[in-house]
């Protein structure tokens, strides 16, 4: 209980994550109705006991589609953070440790990337490559690594001059060993915290792209696509667009709380 008191964000976030994982797993094996089943006799029905979140314009059960849609969004968002995070950490470590011209060059590149609004860059890349899941991964890989590289570089710059690193060097450790065994473990904490915030932003970006028609393609149940479907029926059927949004918010808040909790937990004490 005292540990909960000291870091409520982390505990609530992790509890929400467990529930989210349970629902996403459930959505893969069981849903109240078939999420793909079209029923023209039962279109645009308001939420009821039979269809908790109502039905869409094709008579598909919105609740079932929200449940089944979690998998795609979560998978895409996690890959779109994890892959660029690894790339960014490696580039940042190289930049910070080698320093000099390499560092200056890499930092100028990140400065320039930083001038482009995130959405504009991702949309432009997907626009040139064409929509689809694989192209989403490439677009986010090209854009998302920058923050990770800058965060890790900043940490490495501080760490490489600390005594324990010099001690390791005087003991005869090779450069790769110093970087991987001594510097990186200490430099990645802020990157891990940032990764959680980045999951929130990436889920928003992935669903936005799907909403615009540039991400996941129909008929896959996906939250952004469902909101886009519901947009045409705002006057008659508010529930189609509303409920997938709640699912996105729940997911976002989960990762925001975990990020905040990790920030508290991983920050050096004293």
């Amino acid at each position: 209980m005292s540990r909960f008191r000291s870091n409520p964000s982390l505990f609530v976030g992790l509890a929400m994550l467990a529930l989210l994982a349970a629902f996403v797993a459930l959505g893969q094996v069981w849903t109240p109705h078939d999420p793909f089943e079209v029923d023209y006799g039962n279109t645009l029905q308001a939420p009821s006991l039979a269809n908790w979140f109502g039905t869409d314009d094709l008579g598909r059960d919105v609740a079932s589609r929200v449940l089944a849609g979690g998998y795609v969004d979560l998978k895409v968002a996690l890959i779109c953070v994890a892959a660029p995070a690894v790339l960014g950490v490696v580039i940042g470590a190289i930049s910070g440790f080698i320093g000099g011209r390499v560092d200056t060059f890499i930092m100028r590149v990140t400065d320039i990337f930083w001038a482009f609004p995130f959405y504009v860059l991702v949309i432009a890349i997907v626009g040139v490559l064409g929509p689809g899941e694989a192209n989403l991964y490439l677009a986010f890989l090209l854009v998302n690594w920058i923050s990770f590289a800058r965060i890790v570089r900043g940490e490495v710059l501080v760490l490489r001059n600390l005594e324990f690193v010099q001690a390791a060097r005087s003991l005869g450790c090779t450069t790769p060993r110093i970087v991987t065994a001594h510097i990186l473990p200490n430099a990645v904490n802020p990157a891990i915290v940032y990764a959680m915030a980045d999951v929130v932003l990436t889920i928003l970006a992935v669903t936005s792209l799907s909403f615009l028609g540039l991400g996941i393609q129909p008929p896959t149940p996906e939250w952004g696509l469902m909101i886009s479907d519901g947009r045409q029926f705002l006057f008659d059927a508010w529930w189609i667009a509303t409920f997938p949004g709640f699912a996105i918010i729940y997911t976002g808040v989960t990762f925001a709380l975990i990020g905040e909790g990790l920030d508290t937990a991983l920050r050096p004490k004293g």
Partner: protein
């Protein structure tokens, strides 16, 4: 101040050059094939070859880049395939709506941030502070396109206070038409600025001169209004500047949701019509917009805080 301005402007040159290079490399070196995408299923091999020639895609990369720079240098930014007009003309037509949306949403964001951050900071750790923090954690997680649609359901359909889309002709009707989209962007911005202004206020509250002011008997209103807020706001200008990239990016989605005639909706249209030169030109315009707004906030910052100029 003049020296600072000149220095800041000189720093812009390599960045602007880098923007053109990055935009060019990203859009041309990627494995996508614009000519094929543009023509779709209609295009036979000859049409595709012809389109490649028209777009200059058959040339070596370095020559494409020089042509690209020439298009920028001439001020036309290239020629839109679909609209058959210089990209710059289209940009100038659509720019006012986007600038208006950015300005209006920034005003709304500041109007929300200042009182809420003050309230939060003065009740630090209390229920109000916690409630504001929780509310804006939820706002951060809200997709803007979804919030836009929810606002339409709530304030345009159920309570018909605002129109569902469109831009308006005169100032009043423009305010009326763009309040909902500006509010969506403002909420997203405020969710970030409230936090930073709150910490800035708390930092200033702990400083010696505030203790002195308190000791001299300054009331809460005078203390906050004269001593704390101006100093806390100055440090928040740079935070607001750092978010412009997000605000500009946010307009892309929001303009589409509310059918506003801005650069963002034009950008999304250009993606769907595969209007390659237009995509490219707009990508650069967006980046330049971010750079210029950042420059403006930096200058405002330097004007408000003399220490910055002397660094």
């Amino acid at each position: 101040m003049l020296i600072y301005i000149v220095k800041r402007l000189a720093q812009l040159v390599p960045v602007l050059f880098g923007i053109t290079l990055a935009c060019f490399l990203l859009l041309r070196a990627l494995p996508g094939d614009p000519a094929t995408l543009l023509l779709g299923a209609r295009g036979g091999p000859e049409e595709i070859a012809l389109m490649k020639q028209r777009l200059g895609l058959d040339l070596p990369l370095w020559r494409q880049y020089l042509l690209f720079l020439a298009d920028i240098g001439s001020g036309s930014l290239g020629r839109s395939v679909v609209h058959a007009r210089p990209v710059m003309q289209l940009v100038l037509e659509r720019l006012p709506a986007t600038l208006w949306l950015v300005a209006y949403s920034t005003v709304l964001a500041v109007a929300m941030t200042v009182p809420l951050a003050l309230w939060s900071a003065m009740r630090r750790g209390g229920p109000v502070d916690l409630a504001i923090k929780l509310a804006f954690t939820i706002v951060i997680a809200m997709p803007s396109f979804w919030l836009g649609l929810i606002f339409v359901i709530l304030f345009a359909i159920w309570l018909p206070l605002f129109p569902t889309s469109g831009y308006g002709d005169d100032l009043l009707s423009r305010l009326h038409h763009t309040t909902l989209p500006a509010l969506v962007i403002a909420l997203a911005t405020a969710s970030l600025t409230i936090r930073s202004l709150r910490s800035a206020i708390l930092a200033v509250l702990g400083s010696d001169y505030v203790t002195t002011a308190r000791a001299k008997g300054a009331g809460t209103g005078r203390l906050m209004g004269v001593h704390v807020l101006p100093n806390a706001l100055i440090s928040s200008i740079s935070v607001l500047g750092a978010h412009t990239s997000w605000v500009i990016g946010g307009t892309v989605v929001i303009e589409t949701v509310f059918a506003l005639p801005g650069l963002g909706s034009l950008f999304v249209e250009s993606i769907f019509s595969r209007d390659y030169p237009l995509i490219q030109g707009l990508t650069i315009v967006f980046a330049v917009l971010v750079v210029l707004i950042n420059l403006a906030t930096d200058l405002a910052y330097a004007l408000a805080d003399p220490r910055i100029r002397l660094e």
